[in-house]
Symmetry: C2
Subunit: 389 residues, 2 copies
C-alpha cells in the first residue's frame, strides 16, 4: 500500500451565488486545486464527484462527465451521493483506489447549487435525504428531525439551549478571517438565544445556512509525488464509514449516532491511531446539537459530556481539542456536496500552515474530518495527517 | 489480490410495477441474491447501490441506508449514480475493494422505479442524463440523441433501418423463455420497420421499454468463499471505465463511442484477455444503434462493420458471438439503476448453466458486460468468467 497524499486543495467562497451553475462552481474549485497541486490535468485517472440535489436544483443528473469537463479533465468520472456526506463517499473510494495502486492521480470533490431554490425550496430539497414515506410525508424536515434529537438529548443527559449557543458562538468566532466562509462576523450567546425559533429547541443560529459552493482535492500516490517532485506534505491515512436506520423512528436512541461511532472506529484503526492522538477536528455541525453528538460518538467525550465542551472552552481555538476551526458548517456554510472535501481542504491548510487559524494547531499533526448524511444514517470519517515535516 | 467471486445473483421481473417502490423492488432482488448465495447477511461489509432517477420518480435521495434496510443488511451503504450505468459504477468500486482486501463480502445492485411517471414523464426524467443547458433545454431527449447517432452512422458507414431491425428481432428472440424479461414474444423485421416512428430513423421497436425492476449481486473474496464453503464458480476478472464529453455537439464523431473503447481496453487489460477471448456479450442496447456502436468500440467489429452483424446471424444465440442472450435492454427491459448488475447476473447464470439460453454458450467461459450512461458519456465494462469448472 502506498500513502495517499493531498497534492492540492481548492475551495470556492461559500455563500449566495444563485446565478452560478454547479459546473461554474466546480470549475473554479478544481482550477484552484490544480494550481495548488502543480499536477498536470492530463495525469488525472479519474474524477470522483459528490453532489446531492442536482436533480432538483438544476434538473441535472449524470454529473460525472459534466464535471470532468468543467474541471478540464478527460478521465472517467463517477458521481457519489450520500446526502450531505456525498463528497466524503467520493473521497473514501479515491483513497482506497490510490493506496491500493489502482490509480495514482485522482481528482475528488463536490459542489452544490442551493440558493437558487430559495430557503423553503432548499429545505424541501434537503428533505429527500430523509425517508420520504415515513418522515418527509409526515412533515418532518431536517430542522425538525435535529430538534427531536436535541430535545431527546436534553431529556436524557441534560444540557440546554445555552450550551448549544456556545457551539454556534465558537464556530462563528473561528470563521472570522476565513475569507471563504459564508459568515465571518462574531455572534453572542444572546444573539443565538434570542434568534427566531426554527424548530424548538433549535433557533436560527443553531442552524447552518443554505450555501452555494464547491471544493476539490488532487490526491496522488506517494510514489507519484516523489517521482514528480510534488510538494504534498499531508496524507489521508484513515477512512471509515458507518450506516444506521434511515428514519429516526427506527432507532433505539435519538440522541446517539452509532453510524459516527462505526465510522470513527474504522478510521482510527485504519490510521493506527486513537481519539487521543487527534489534534483537531472538523465535524458535521449542520445544527449545533450535531457537533455534540459527533464529538461523543467519536470518543472525545463520554455520552452526555459533550454538551458542555464549547461552553467550557475545550473546543475553541485555544482549547485542547479545537473543533471546526474553519467555522464549521454553521459559519463556513454547507453547500452539501462540497462539504466533505472542503473539510479535508481546511484541515490540509491548517496542517500546512496556510490557514488563518493555523497558529491554533501549530504543534498538531493529526486532523479528523467527520461528515454525516441525513440524521446520521450515513457517516464518513477521515484521518488527515501531516506526514512530511 | 484475491479473486472476486459472484456468490449469488437476484433479479426481479422487469416490467410494469408502478405501485411498487424502489425499496420493494430492491428488497426482492436482494432476497433472491442471498438465497442464491447462501451467504449470511450479517457478513456483508457494505452495500454499493446504483440508482438514477429516485429524486424525480420517488422524491427520494440518500437511498444507500434505505436500501440497506430493504435488503436486511446493517452495513455502510453508498449510492452511485452514473446515469444508465449506475449499478456498474457501484460494481466497479466493489470489485476493486474486494480484490484489494478492503472487504470480503459486498452487496451490489440497483433498482429503478420508472413506470409511475408514465412514458412522457419517464422520458423527461431520463433526459437529465444529458446536458441540461446545451441539450435538454434545446429539446433533445434520448430517442432524438440516438437517432442523430444512427443517422450519422448511416451517412458515414452505410447500413439502414433494416439492419437495425435485425438487432431488435434477435434480442426479442433471445428473451423468449426468459421469465424475467419485460417482453417475451418474438417480433419480425416488418414489425420493426412498420412500427410508429419515435425519432427518425428510430422507431418504437428500435427502443427499449420503460421498466421497473431491481438486481443484486453478492460478491465475496475467493478466500471467503473457500473458508465458508460458498459455491461461487464465477468471478469478475476485469473492470474498465471510460468517459467522454457530455453533449453530442462537443464530440468529434457522432457515430463512435470512445468511452466504450477506453472502458473495454481497460477491462481487457485488467482481465488479461482480448476481444478474441470473449465468448458472449451483454451490451447496452437502449436503442438498436447502441448495440452496433458498442460492438465496434469493444473491438469485435471494425468501425462500419458492426451494423450487419445481427442480419448476418453472427450475434444470435447460434452465432459466433452471441450478443444479449438475456434479451438485452431492448426486450428484457431497462430499469436504469438495475441494468448493469442485471447484465452481470444474466452472464453468471449463463455461465453456471441455469439460464434458459445457457446451451448457446455451453462451451463458453468468458462473458462481457457493457453498460453505458447518457449518449455514452460514461461507460463501464466488466469481464465475467467461469473460474471453477
Amino acid at each position: 500500500m502506498t500513502e495517499v497524499r493531498i497534492a492540492g486543495v481548492g475551495v470556492t467562497e461559500f455563500g449566495n451565488a444563485p446565478e452560478r451553475t454547479g459546473r461554474d462552481l466546480f470549475g473554479d474549485a478544481s482550477d484552484d486545486a490544480f494550481a495548488d497541486a502543480g499536477v498536470s490535468r492530463s495525469d488525472v485517472e479519474s474524477l470522483r464527484y459528490g453532489n446531492f440535489m442536482g436533480e432538483l436544483a438544476e434538473r441535472q443528473g449524470h454529473q460525472g462527465p459534466l464535471m470532468a469537463e468543467a474541471a478540464g479533465v478527460r478521465a472517467p468520472a463517477t458521481r457519489y451521493e450520500s446526502a450531505c456526506a456525498s463528497s466524503s463517499a467520493a473521497l473514501r473510494s479515491a483513497v482506497r483506489d490510490v493506496r491500493n495502486g489502482e490509480e495514482d492521480v485522482v481528482l475528488v470533490g463536490g459542489a452544490e447549487r442551493m440558493t437558487n431554490l430559495g430557503t423553503a425550496g432548499a429545505t424541501e430539497a434537503l428533505a429527500i435525504a430523509a425517508d420520504e414515506l415515513w418522515e418527509v410525508r409526515q412533515g418532518v424536515t431536517f430542522p425538525g428531525a435535529y430538534a427531536l434529537m436535541a430535545q431527546a438529548y436534553f431529556d436524557e443527559y441534560g444540557g440546554d439551549r445555552d450550551d448549544l449557543a456556545h457551539v454556534a458562538v465558537k464556530n462563528h468566532e473561528h470563521a472570522i478571517g476565513n475569507e471563504l466562509a459564508h459568515y465571518q462576523d462574531p455572534i453572542s450567546v444572546d444573539d443565538v438565544l434570542e434568534a427566531p425559533p426554527v424548530s424548538e429547541p433549535l433557533g436560527l443560529y443553531d442552524s447552518c445556512p443554505i450555501s452555494d459552493g464547491a471544493s476539490a482535492l488532487v490526491l496522488v500516490s506517494e510514489a507519484y509525488a516523489e517521482a514528480n517532485d510534488v510538494d504534498a506534505p499531508v496524507a489521508v491515512t484513515g477512512s471509515g464509514q458507518g450506516g444506521d436506520d434511515m428514519a429516526l423512528q427506527d432507532r433505539e436512541y435519538l440522541a446517539r449516532t452509532p453510524a459516527t461511532n462505526s465510522a470513527a472506529k474504522e478510521a482510527y484503526e485504519d490510521a493506527g491511531i486513537g481519539p487521543g492522538d487527534v489534534d483537531f477536528v472538523e465535524v458535521h455541525d449542520c445544527f449545533t446539537i450535531a457537533e455534540v453528538l459527533a464529538l461523543e460518538s467519536m470518543g472525545f467525550y463520554e455520552t452526555g459530556e459533550g454538551i458542555g465542551a464549547a461552553r467550557r472552552g475545550e473546543t475553541t481555538a485555544e482549547g485542547d481539542l479545537p473543533v471546526n476551526l474553519s467555522g464549521g458548517l454553521k459559519a463556513k456554510g454547507h453547500p452539501v456536496g462540497a462539504t466533505g472535501t472542503a473539510q479535508v481542504a481546511e484541515i490540509t491548510k491548517l496542517l500546512r500552515g496556510d490557514h488563518v487559524n493555523s497558529d491554533a494547531v501549530a504543534d498538531g499533526t493529526v486532523g479528523l474530518a467527520h461528515n454525516a448524511g441525513g440524521t446520521v444514517a450515513s457517516c464518513l470519517v477521515h484521518v488527515v495527517e501531516e506526514v512530511v515535516a
